[in-house]
């Protein structure tokens, strides 16, 4: 009985310590995605550089690809452009989904497509262009339907237009190797 009375608080203490200690190494930004294994939500959005061209789920699918949510305003997205370009050179198909931040009318801001096109073209020229094409989501409707919390985020979409992976944060060699490469390869076959 004495032994038990000593052991129970001790076991509780050890259990609590292990629980809290492992919490130190968990990622608080990790989210469970609710779009995995679901088809791309319905959308009809213009191409960023050729706005008369409208992209829909049917016109984007056909080959497995990465759908990369990004913006020129997003520092981390700029940082991953170089590696994504490397992946493109290795034959990975990457489509950009441009995350337009809301314009603040109170500060006299207006959305200027020509200026944005120029900015994007310049950025991609400087940092490398990983994208086959860019879809402009001006009002973030597709971005909202995909459950995107911010930029950069990347979706792995298979040839049938089904979302297979959802990665929050940048893509670097480590993330690609550990999380996405194998899944992308298996979709190729």
């Amino acid at each position: 009985m004495r032994k038990l009375a000593f052991f129970i608080p001790f076991a509780l203490f050890i259990g609590l310590s292990v629980f809290l200690f492992s919490g130190l190494f968990s990622n608080p930004m990790e989210r469970e995605s609710s779009v995995i294994d679901k088809p791309l939500p319905a959308f009809a959005l213009p191409d960023l550089q050729q706005p008369e061209k409208i992209w829909t789920p049917d016109s984007v699918k056909g080959k497995p690809f990465l759908l990369n949510v990004w913006g020129t305003w997003c520092v981390t997205c700029n940082a991953e452009l170089a590696y994504l370009t490397e992946l493109r050179e290795q034959g990975v198909m990457i489509v950009g989904l441009y995350y337009q931040q809301p314009v603040d009318a109170a500060f006299g801001e207006v959305f200027n497509l020509a200026a944005l096109q120029q900015e994007v073209a310049l950025k991609l020229e400087q940092q490398g262009n990983p994208y086959q094409w860019n879809i402009l989501d001006k009002d973030r409707t597709l971005i909202f339907d995909l459950g995107v919390t911010g930029a950069p985020e990347t979706f792995l979409v298979d040839a049938q237009g089904i979302i297979r992976q959802h990665h929050i944060g940048d893509i670097n060699p480590q993330v690609w190797q550990q999380k996405l490469a194998a899944a992308y390869q298996s979709l190729q076959e």
Binding site: M1, R31, Q101, F144, V148
Partner: protein, 160 residues
Amino acid sequence: MKYFFLSLLFLISAAQATQVLIEFKSPEQQALFKELTHELRCPKCQNQNIADSNAVVAVDMRNKTLELVQQGQDKAQVLEYMKSRYGDFVHYQPPLNKFTLILWLLPALMVVGLMVLLLVRRKAQGKAVVSEAADQAQMQSEPELEQQLDQLIEQYRRKS
């Protein structure tokens, strides 16, 4: 210093002037919008609801909530809309499922466990008291010891 505070005052009033007033069809819709924006959680921020946060995603969620409420959707419908996109994470009241069952079970288990422990201890203590009393009774029943004690006392008395 006075001018600094004065200019601060003007700054604040300017900031308040840019707040948008939302018009609702009914006080019920207004109450529902308020309730929802307080219960929905910003997926980008660390522990803020969407009423509290001005992150882009929180503003978008707020606008969407307003749109759905004004369309006449009820609370469950709006929550379902948000959860289907941002997951259970987005609602501050987690549903009861196999992952969250432990949250409900653990407190009950702890109460039961503590009660069992308390009962076991009380029983053990009761036994200890009884056996101690029995020991004492045994001691007193031995006249030899008392005789020895008497002898010892007698010896000391003689010495002094």
